[in-house]
């Protein structure tokens, strides 16, 4: 076990402390399974600024004292150099050290709350329960709620992630050509965005003459007439950003441009409707309305599309999925991706999406160049 002391706190940690005091709670145990889902909030990252390698936890007590526990033990030094918690411990036995820290803080488990325990592996979650004598009451929404509106620093990171995504897409336009395999194109894009500082990338990239959906790159050899779909999602300092693009090798049929224009119009409607105070449902209706008006209302459901956008981890995935049943109210400063991606029988699946920030006047795209139907000349 390797214990290190750090200084400084992040705003989420302070807010979490206030939440405990306001609720008369004794402590908070936030855990991460280390899987880094880009559609989820990683509570350990939110409270410590550390993206963990393995299973990890932040323990916060009623007086604002905090400890980050990371696995494996050898990652403790890196974590300590970044963490905003008071102390950092590297260990290979998370459950035992968690118990030690809870004892040190004299946490009353019955009056404490937890985030993320239900996402750990069963064996570890059970082990923690046995060590602590019980599991704290789940408050799984807390981290994503506290972080639902981006701070100025987080917004800056999201803007930089968007900049990386756009440069990555420019690289796709330069690099893609007939004869290249999908995975070769994906490899180039992935490593190119890493070179620009992206620490991760939820990258889907696939091609077909008639796409059913976007998927991960396979072994298909690109050729003239292929429509390349890209979902480029780099992460920079904990902020994922996403652009969705459609690219044709060779001159596209006029029909393709006509159908893509429907998605662009839906995007414009979404941007306008997504003002602070509106609900996610309002925004979704605006997007679906355009697509229905074009005659594809029956296709506004899976498997012809998935959602009209979604929140972006790893700090907070609020406002959640952009779907008609989501009544969450949009708040100024929320960031998410809006994508009216759609299967259309005459053209196949097309992609058009931008990361946006909510303002009082509507959603503002973080990307400098909105999606258009791009062409790779042959």
């Amino acid at each position: 076990m390797n214990v290190q002391v750090a200084v400084g706190k992040n705003v989420r940690l302070i807010e979490a402390g206030k939440y405990l005091q306001a609720g008369g709670l004794d402590g908070l145990i936030a855990v991460s399974n280390g899987l880094n889902n880009f559609l989820e909030s990683n509570a350990v990252y939110v409270l410590s600024n550390v993206r963990p390698i393995g299973e990890s936890a932040v323990v916060l007590d009623r007086d604002g004292r905090s400890t980050l526990i990371v696995t494996p033990a050898w990652d403790g030094e890196r974590a300590a150099s970044i963490s905003s918690t008071d102390r950092t411990i590297g260990t290979d036995d998370l459950a035992t050290v968690l118990k030690d820290v809870a004892d040190k803080y004299r946490l009353d488990v019955a009056r404490s709350i937890s985030i993320g325990l239900s996402l750990l592996g069963q064996a570890l979650a059970t082990g923690i329960g046995v060590r602590l004598g019980a599991l704290p009451k789940p408050a799984d929404e807390l981290a994503r709620d506290l972080a639902r509106v981006r701070t100025a620093e987080e917004l800056k990171a999201a803007e930089h992630a968007t900049w990386i995504a756009e440069r990555g897409y420019e690289r796709v336009l330069e690099f893609a050509r007939p004869g290249l395999r999908e995975y070769e194109l994906a490899a180039e894009l992935y490593c190119f965005t890493k070179k620009l500082g992206a620490e991760d990338n939820f990258l889907l990239m696939s091609a077909s003459q008639h796409n059913l959906a976007v998927r991960a790159a396979g072994e298909r050899v690109l050729d003239v007439g292929d429509i390349i779909l890209s979902e480029i999602t780099p992460c920079y300092r904990g902020q994922f950003s996403q652009i969705c693009r459609t690219t044709v090798i060779g001159e596209p049929r006029p029909l393709l441009r006509e159908k893509f224009a429907i998605l662009q119009e839906a995007m414009s409607a979404g941007l306008e409707a997504g003002r602070a105070g509106a609900t996610v449902a309002d925004l979704t209706h605006a997007i679906n309305g355009v697509i229905a008006k074009a005659g594809y209302g029956d296709y506004c459901r899976p498997p012809y599309m998935r959602v009209r956008g979604h929140g972006l981890g790893i700090t907070s995935d609020r406002p959640g999925d952009i779907v008609e049943r989501n009544e969450r109210v949009l708040e100024s400063g929320m960031v998410f991706v809006m994508h009216p991606n759609q299967y259309i029988p005459e053209s196949g699946y097309l992609m058009c999406g931008e990361p946006v920030v909510v303002t009082d006047e509507g959603c503002r795209a973080l990307s400098a160049q909105m999606a258009q139907l791009d062409v790779i000349a042959v």
Partner: protein, 383 residues
Amino acid sequence: MRTMQPCVTIGSYTWAQDRLPYDEFTLRLEPLHAAMDRNRWPAVLVYGDVREHVALAYLSNFIPRVRWGMALLPRSGDARLLCAMSTRDLPAMRTLTWIADVRSGMGPEWEKSFDPWFEPLKTERAVELGTIDFDIMAPVLHQSVLHSLGDRFVLQRANDGVTVPPQRKRPRELTMMRASCKLLQSAAQALTDSWHHNGSPETAALDAERLARSLGAQDVRTLISLDGGRTLVPFQGLFEKKAGPLVGYLAVKVMGYWADMFITLDEGNSLALRKTEAALDALIAAARPGARTGDLYAKAIEALTALPLHPVLSASVGHSIGLSLNQQPELRAGDKSELAEDGVYTLQTGVADVQARNALLSAIVRCTAKGAEVLARSPSPTR
């Protein structure tokens, strides 16, 4: 070796039927069927997630790109595979496995996909079902499983009665391991060349990753030292030049099979490096079928002559490798597991010491009756 888990695996995972034909999976299922007969289980449920999916991949070829997957394998009848993906994504998921019936297990799809499959298995009394790797399943999903099965089924842990996959690699697995090791060796050379050319550890690691991915690696993991080998860190995107030595870790996945390697490039011929090389040689010489893992550990420690084992090795000098980067058994002090013939192991040694300096080296070996066949080994530390 634990590394930073990416949010999605981006390589090509399509089921390569020419390399891993359907009959391969029929043979892989035989020991499981025997266990089902012994225990009177009409079905076994096999779980895997994006990080650890060794049994799921071995039996179904399915590797979750995100979240989780679960194979419902009956003793007789048709298998079903559930994945945590939208119905929109199912056509792509169906290309990853021999199981024809692939369904979404997400949200409202769960009950439609999971529950009906068990209807034919119901009897008057509660039926016992085997489970594999449910220990790593999230409690929230486990609750859904229990809720759906109700009191008509009882889950029994099958991991204790049948080892999936066995330590001994099948012939086609050995072919996959050789392909993975070959690609790893090429990537290690790219890392070495890049380091000698530009002196930036992160640039060297990224150049190795780019080469591996462009050659079809499904996944690539790197750790690199920014302090001369004392600690290893995941990618930080700084690309600063550093004085040597370069110490790093590289892992590649090909057709589902991992190969990994520690690399030390040090012109100084440090004591740490000399002792680490001696320890690796001792491990390779001792690796043969029946050798006890604890004994191998002792030989490596003896060769290090009181220098401390590098902390990133977490008190282990290697382990089995294949469909997982962290496969059992591990070579630890006192461990009494035995190496198997045609088992493939990553043997890892290293030192972190202020005076002797730092080094990490490794080799991947196949265990044969004649001794260890080296499939991959760290490149020479000096030019």
